[in-house]
Symmetry: D2
Subunit: 330 residues, 4 copies
């Protein structure tokens, strides 16, 4: 049994971590931590938890005493917290702070994308992937790994529900402005781009920062729903790679991935509230492109669920422990 | 451990039953039943369940062999199925078919609203309440029971998400017609009205069909969301019943109800995906009305969750067994 | 031809005023005014107007020079602006600031609800009704006016789209918090309550502040859509008033109201983007209540459209001038 | 002044045509036609039009007598209707039936994309573009025309609101199934693909069916909103074409297009209910791709508005006549 702390417990990823951890059979005590709220019942901040009188905001010492610490803050906060923690606890950082270190195996950090770059048992510092990279890499990974992609950029066109933008109110996310609206954002310079490029390079067998790493074009979009993320990925495909060859590579690669389902039509509503990733791949011979789609819940497989899956692996538990729940639609 | 069958497994209530039953610690085998689909993997019909290869549509014999049978069909179908089943299995009927019998304790049926009319251990035929009656009665019940309401109608103004209208496509529920639209429906003659009147009468200590039963005005509305139901209830309040008296009656009554939370502002998003009912009560002295609000998830506390709670009570299990999950927002 | 100024041009009511005024055949020049933005192209603030290079934020002098000034600010601002303007321009105040004066015909203000309390030609100071009062009074008005309601409170249960809460971001209106959520708010003490009571009293032939004014119970709710407001109104009905009598009173009263449609099922999507109000009335003899429903677009008939209708009346123009547009669904 | 007929008047494009035609200063009489409903008030079918007692469903003779006939049916119906009409009326076909003929100038048909392939005055048979092609070509067109794209496929990733799927109820468009869901569809074989390829070829100066036509990869997606379409387009860009060169080409090309706005961040909510197309272009030098986005209202610029614009051009009227309305948010 392990004691866990969640730093950044009031954000959407923090809340979702608590939901899942409360049901995890190996988790004993849970300390939610939000700066400045020590002693306050968690349910006073997040009304869905009102009946959980056992959840009370803890102070920073709880993180130092925990067996596992989840960092669900922004990157800057995560860096400070990680630096201040003792060696003992396993840290799973859901922010972007340590992903580049993790992709390069620097300073003890490991990037943990279970389907391609699983963390070894005994890992102590885990950088959890971003939501868009997760969906993009699950969509593109089997083709990259099997050498089915030829020279050319990986294009990822991502569509995310608005919870991905976080719990802080913003003018463009005021309900009347975001409802019934589709828009791209950060078309140049989203920080997930370098993460996708580095992780894709590693899946292709290169160093994360190899100059020969495949270029990546990444365009994120917000769509008017709360949860869910669909990545539509385009990759130049080898001329001799027909649809059957490609589909077989996907089926084969994901045969051992308990949370990936090969489906005909990925749909975010089919994975909402679950740790599943639904993937489909097609070959468009006229354009020479492979078209792969992956649907996830951005807060679960794209964040909290993947983080718990990483914890499970690091602790030597079954990867699916505490995570095997059916999606929650309609 | 019990074996269960769900007849009408493809509807929204049937799907939701399966979600919860899969996590119930006392449920061993689950037989989903939909006429004409015997032998088909359940996940082929309901994509969220694709990975559950253990769930295969069963034939009618599975219901006869089960320990517990949930009827999640329409009323007419439910009546036929109930009539055809042997005496042995516990039947929980989520349709309207047996509610009036249950309110009158006729033909072996018991109406099971756990907060006011809990089914006794050993019950074999349980009529599960409708979604609007559940929210209405949780909102009004403590006042009715404590005699705080004076002469006059109970008014329930209900707002339901669209999953409450079922899984069959309909012109008025085609996405572009239901999105961004609020409307009342069946303003005269919704079949939940008589159920509310009968159950309210029993809570006030009368027979369900007593001529003196309090008249009920019930107006259901559809609002553009999937899950969630808010009932706003108006009751004439005794002149000497001030806000504190009324609020105390609610706190006191619900002190023993594990799934009801007294909150300042009920909000359907705070209970979505959970079996909780959030309730608030106010006294509007200028109009002489008590105003009570109750928010539930129409598919859970308003259907499947309540049905499992009834099963737990009938089997002598803890009422919360398998049901204690935090709501799923955002 | 008239020159108009809109103070508070960036808010949702201000924007909507500009949309309609641009199409009004008697409006010549339009001066949008927002404090601190003089000289800025309006389309830089409100992207839907980017191509209207003729719209540039004006300074306060533009209001003093205008023939008609619309106040689309909050109440406090509106009071200041009204006090500072010369006598000449016609002022239509969309805020709550002058409604109580208008209901009492004090200080030159007139409350303008065209269907029951139309402003006379030549009016110079008009208080425009609130959105909830408009829908409530159109639903209840014919019964009140015809003396069909007996002793007892008027109950208005209102459901509004979120644009009604204004353009300023707020934690509870952050998209992920308001999406898929229904909730009541300000259950006690919403400032529209006194307006409804006062206007209903006048429709019943009493003074707005008469001690004998009918008590009002008003419960506003937010529902997850942008535009639209449905008021469901309950009134005690005289025992001899059957459905046909009541329906006839509604048909008769609204025969002369160009923007009210008697319909079987009011639905906010049928009036969205238009100045129409759809109304239906039923008699529920079991509870002794009349049930009336009115659907409007909260920004049009509930604000900007009604304001232009008031301007038309005050200027002696046809009430429908510039307003006769079909609703905009799907 | 012209008399117009709309065949297929009950569909979403038909309704939208009527909305705009009612405001068009050169349109005198409007005959809505839906098979089997002759003589029925149009407002009985489409409640938003209830007050327009002048609109009554007409029989087929009305189309033969009209000056302009809009075909807003599916392709098969449109082909039959076009074949049965006399030579006299101008026909604007909104279906896919005659687009390929129009792109090849066959059998008297002209494909009318006003920004690149405007119909000549006097045209009698106009094939109106599809919604996805419109947004895709407005996004890609200036680059294609100016020779800024190098060898390689044009990739269009389209996101459409659900009204684009039509008014006929369907299981996957039942509100609870489409709400909170994002999905691609017809990943291989959508009929808009060939239209995009043919029109792009013509913009690049080739025949629509030239073997050297640039290959097109087109992936349509449904997003949970009613109206709006965003196309995100990727094109290989010449190495010497920097961002400024490309942006200048867009500004220059659209200087003469009254309905295209160069904006920093296209957003479907900024064009909803209007005939505007908002476009932005960026150069992603790392991947060698130009990234262009275009936001339109799929029912207006993507259908009915473009059809009226085509009518205006064919009749020698100003292209903006009757179409210059501001978008309708929030």
């Amino acid at each position: 049994m392990v004691d866990v702390a969640v730093i950044g417990a009031r954000g959407y990823l923090g809340r979702e971590l608590l939901r899942w951890l409360l049901l995890h059979p190996k988790v004993e005590a849970i300390a939610p931590i939000t700066s400045g709220e020590t002693g306050k019942p968690y349910g006073d901040s997040v009304p869905a938890f009102r009946h959980r009188s056992d959840l009370v905001m803890a102070g920073p010492q709880a993180a130092r005493d925990a067996d596992v610490v989840f960092l669900a803050t922004d990157g800057e906060e995560a860096r400070k917290h990680a630096a201040g923690l003792p060696d003992a606890p396993l840290i799973v950082d859901l922010s972007r702070a340590h992903r580049h270190l993790g992709l390069d195996h620097q300073e003890g950090w490991t990037y943990g994308l279970s389907e391609f770059l699983p963390v070894p048992k005994g890992s102590r510092r885990i950088a959890n992937p971003g939501c868009y990279p997760t969906a993009t890499l699950i969509a593109a990974g089997p083709a990259l790994k099997a050498g089915l992609a030829t020279v050319g950029p990986l294009i990822s066109d991502g569509k995310s529900g608005i919870s991905g933008a976080g719990a802080t109110p913003r003018g463009d996310l005021h309900y009347p402005e975001a409802h019934d609206a589709v828009r791209a954002y950060k078309v140049l310079g989203h920080d997930h781009l370098a993460e996708i490029r580095g992780a894709a390079a590693r899946i292709e067998g290169k160093a994360a920062t190899a100059p020969s790493a495949r270029p990546v074009r990444f365009t994120p979009h917000l769509v008017p729903m709360n949860r869910g993320l669909l990545a539509t990925v385009y990759l130049p495909v080898a001329a001799d790679a027909d649809a059957e060859t490609v589909k077989a590579a996907y089926r084969q690669h994901y045969a051992g991935s308990p949370f990936v389902r090969n489906v005909p039509e990925p749909d975010t509503s089919h994975v909402r509230g679950s740790n599943y990733a639904d993937v489909a791949v097609d070959v468009d011979s006229a354009s020479g492109l492979l078209v792969a789609r992956c649907a996830i819940d951005n807060l679960v497989k794209g964040g909290s669920g993947a983080a718990i899956q990483n914890m499970n692996l690091a602790l030597g538990l079954a990867p699916t422990l505490g995570l095997d729940r059916v999606a929650g639609g309609p």
